[in-house]
């Protein structure tokens, strides 16, 4: 076996009481694609920060190419030949591709343009160097980020959850690029929690759980089930079986909705039509930024339609387009928004006070005064039922981890026993165990006759949950696609807009 390119021994890093990494050993071979697999909070990001010089380990050694490595900053890491592509891009939208790259890489514009084209050809990273970044798709922006890293001729490239922003077709293309890079002599550290992807592309996998390594495996020799067990420490719970339902009453109906937001950078919606019935889960697929947040605000009542736009949004059979969020909630509507801090919860307030935000009609008020004891009882019940990990109900919402706060908000909204529940990105940042608990709960509620609308980027999640899927792309919604008759690739076609909506929109 050849000497490893990068070798970690006994790496530990703590933040106060939290041991993010404990005694991590990791070897990355030259010319390999190495997966680091783990749930949210398992310590993947911390480990990458240590390797990339953003932070320094408390203990342990890092050996790079046979030499001990002590990095004080990412700049130093880049000089040594370590590059990283973050999950959230850092590109200036108003500049062109080459201008963005020139901010980090010295050189004449013409030379850089040529080099971008060459790299694009060699590694399948086609992108127009002179195009402004705001005109690029998410996949293209990611390519720009990768090119920017490659410009400094790295020998190790770290990719943090690179596929989470891509439609299925672009994922294949990315994988092709990664294989070509590997064959060209670049090792890749690939961070993910998606098991199938790792099995498809990686030669080695290191699995983290709760800050420790739980296994080094060859992912091609294990099935997803084994990997999952190493990752979460127990068997994955079976998905809740969905009981098929005959069509219940319409709880949400949107008919030919057009909306042009005031914000010039927001996505305009056109011809949106959908129906959610009692006992049905409708999923809205698509990559974020295609109108999801605009549509969510229109459904929740945070954006109210002008008076001229009548008969566009119906809830429980009532025209609600011009009603505010509170009035819609009174009809039996509940909503879990995609952003938890600052929208679904007030970070500076305790969980008890955050319960009041939407659960105040459940007898938590008397004569306009807050019934502290009842609010506390409600909160404790929510914490217990939804397994929110927190020292107690008086803890500030901002002190909870993203996943635990999400469990709290989901719990609070479900405890309102709504007729129509709308959940945007139900499992963003939630660990695998909690995510599957949330999904099981949603299916159980559907079986009890609740109407549920879900917006999600995760196709696997939508296929597990939904009876019907519609895809949002560039502010337009695809026809209804029955989940059992649809393949992920079909959804992918709609996600990148390859499916021209020639077929008439089918309304149930």
């Amino acid at each position: 076996m050849t000497a490893p390119l990068l070798s970690l021994r006994g790496i530990s890093k703590s933040y106060g009481q939290i041991h993010a990494n404990q005694g991590i050993d990791l070897d990355v071979a030259p010319e390999s694609i190495h997966a680091v697999l783990g749930e949210n909070g398992a310590g993947k990001s911390t480990l990458m920060k240590l390797i990339y010089g953003v932070e320094q380990p408390d203990e342990g050694t890092i050996v790079w190419d046979g030499e001990p490595l002590n990095l004080a900053s990412p700049a130093e890491a880049r000089r040594k030949g370590i590059g990283m592509v973050f999950q959230h891009f850092s590109l200036f939208e108003t500049l062109t591709v080459v201008e963005n790259i020139r901010l980090v890489v010295p050189g004449r514009k013409a030379d850089l343009t040529e080099r971008i084209r060459t790299l694009g050809r060699d590694f399948g990273l086609e992108v127009d160097p002179l195009a402004p970044v705001h005109a690029l798709s998410v996949g293209e922006r990611q390519r720009v980020e990768i090119i920017r890293c490659l410009m400094t001729k790295p020998r190790l490239l770290i990719l943090d959850e690179p596929t989470s922003v891509l439609p299925p077709q672009s994922v294949d293309k990315l994988f092709d690029t990664l294989r070509r890079l590997r064959d060209g002599g670049v090792s890749i550290l690939f961070i993910s929690h998606k098991l199938e992807e790792i099995r498809a592309i990686c030669d080695k996998a290191t699995i983290l759980r709760a800050g420790r390594v739980t296994g080094h495996v060859d992912p091609r020799e294990h099935d997803a089930h084994d990997l999952a067990r190493l990752m979460i420490g127990r068997d994955m719970p079976e998905p809740m079986p969905a009981v098929s339902q005959s069509g219940g009453e319409k709880r949400l109906e949107i008919i030919g909705l057009d909306h042009r937001p005031e914000d010039p950078f927001a996505v305009a919606l056109s011809g949106i039509s959908l129906t959610v019935r009692a006992g049905e889960i409708l999923g809205i697929a698509g990559i974020s930024g295609n109108g999801q947040s605009e549509l969510a605000a229109l459904i929740s009542g945070e954006t109210v339609l002008p008076r001229e736009q009548r008969d566009r949004i119906y809830m429980m059979g009532k025209d609600v387009g011009t009603l505010g969020a509170a009035a819609r909630r009174q009809l039996g509507f509940a909503f879990v928004p995609e952003d938890r801090l600052g929208r679904g919860a007030v970070p500076e307030m305790s969980l008890v006070l955050n319960s009041l935000l939407t659960a105040h009609p459940l007898g938590l008020l008397r004569h306009g005064l807050v019934e502290k004891a009842r609010a506390k009882a409600f909160t404790s019940e929510c914490i217990r039922q939804y397994d929110v990990r927190t020292p107690g109900p008086d803890v500030e919402a901002g002190a909870l981890s993203g996943g635990n706060l999400q469990k709290f908000i989901v719990g609070r909204e479900i405890m309102l026993s709504p007729k129509l529940l709308f959940v945007a990105q139900p499992t963003w940042g939630v660990d695998v165990g909690a995510a599957s608990a949330i999904r099981r709960r949603l299916v159980a509620l559907r079986n009890e006759g609740m109407a549920i609308l879900v917006i999600s980027e995760e196709l696997e999640e939508l296929f597990e949950l939904c009876d019907v899927i519609q895809v949002l792309h560039h502010g337009t919604l695809s026809p209804r696609l029955e989940t059992r008759d649809t393949r992920p690739e079909d959804i992918g076609q709609y996600m990148i807009g390859a499916h021209t909506p020639a077929a008439p929109k089918v309304l149930a």
């Binding site: 929740s300 969020a325 929208r343 500076e348 307030m349 005064l369």
Partner: protein, 366 residues
């Protein structure tokens, strides 16, 4: 090894939760810092700091006569600050309490000026009510433009204060000038029934102080216990969460400004119907602005504001004392107020943040 981060320079790091100790320590620490700074200033301008401190901070409490004057000043400061704090908690920054105070005084004065012969115990309560109305109406101009056009309430309310001062000038130089007042810009003296009854015989402290304390309790109930206060606070802390829950933003702005304006107007009415007894140019000695400091110094908490109002009132009286006994310039009190607010605002940053010093990083060598 190379370290790029600047060594030994502290950075602000966000705390996981608000620090109760820092919350409670902020006012006394700010007071201490401001006192030291101002003492240095007094030394620089050649005054005796011991005499100044004695006159400013101790003398107001040492005699019943001066303490009753402190109580008299506490009234308007407390009333205005309670009203403003409700808005500040909702992040509605009404900076124009001075103007709302003046309008309250003008509205209240209408009765004794138009009906100087009227008698009856209904007059002074009616004047106080008119004061509330005047202040609230003046604030509603700000609320209207903020909700309608999103015009910044800080600017609108502040500029309206200047308009209010000119309106007062116009009335006192024109239609409301006392015909027998030797051309002084002031109204007639108010009749007996237009005066709020005195509470403590031998002083100028009147019944409005009781009213103010009652309203402070009401403010506590609203802000700490009621759902209405909760909704206002959510709007201030996380406007998008308020939108998500369906709390109406326009409603919160209107309510905040009407409460703040009404309270300031009431204070103005109590001033003309109390210690002053007529409408004149100098009805306010910057109460509307000083109350902003009072509100923040009290941590925007109704109970804290009672303490800070008492303190600021003592500072007013003490400043007057120091002007006489220690020959302090008239601006010194304002400088003290300003530096106190500044020190406090710096101190409360540490409620949510703490300092972290960068240590050199020691790592185990392979």
């Amino acid at each position: 090894m190379s370290a790029f981060s600047a060594p030994f320079l502290p950075t602000l790091v966000r705390r996981e939760r608000a620090s109760l100790a820092a919350t409670l320590l902020a006012p006394p620490v700010a007071l201490a810092v401001a006192t030291v700074l101002n003492l240095g200033l007094y030394l620089l301008i050649g005054r005796d700091p011991v005499a100044v401190v004695y006159a400013m901070l101790f003398e107001p409490f040492l005699s019943w006569a001066s303490f009753s004057e402190v109580l008299l000043k506490t009234g308007p400061l407390l009333l205005i600050a309670q009203g403003l704090a409700i808005g500040f908690r909702a992040k509605v920054f009404n900076i124009g309490a001075e103007g709302q105070f003046i309008l309250g005084a003008i509205f209240a004065s209408a009765i004794p000026i138009w009906f100087p012969q009227a008698t009856g115990q209904w007059i002074w309560p009616m004047m106080l009510l008119l004061g509330v109305l005047g202040g609230a109406l003046w604030a509603s101009i700000t609320a209207f433009w903020r909700v309608r056009l999103n015009a910044n309430e800080i600017l609108v309310s502040l500029m309206l204060s200047l308009v209010a001062a000119q309106l007062l000038n116009y009335l006192l130089l024109g239609p409301w000038k006392d015909p027998n007042g030797f051309n002084f810009p002031q109204s007639v003296m108010f009749q007996y029934d237009a005066m709020v009854p005195v509470l403590i015989a031998g002083t100028r402290v009147n019944v409005s102080l009781l009213l103010t304390l009652a309203l402070s309790i009401a403010a506590w109930l609203v802000m700490q216990k009621s759902f209405l206060g909760y909704k206002l606070q959510v709007g201030g802390l996380a406007p998008r969460a308020a939108g998500y829950a369906g709390f109406n933003e326009g409603w919160a702005i209107w309510l905040s400004l009407l409460i703040g304006g009404g309270a300031a107007g009431l204070a103005g009415a109590a001033e003309v119907a109390g210690p002053i007894g007529q409408l004149q140019r100098s009805i306010s000695t910057g109460y509307g602005y000083a109350a902003i400091i009072v509100a923040y110094l009290g941590g925007l908490h109704p109970i804290g504001i009672i303490a800070s109002a008492l303190f600021m009132a003592a500072l007013y009286i003490g400043g007057d004392n120091a002007m006489v006994s220690a020959n302090l310039p008239i601006a010194a009190v304002r400088v003290f107020q300003g530096s106190l607010l500044l020190a406090y605002l710096i101190a409360i940053a540490f409620v949510r943040y703490r300092l972290e010093w960068h240590r050199p990083i020691y790592r185990s060598k392979p």
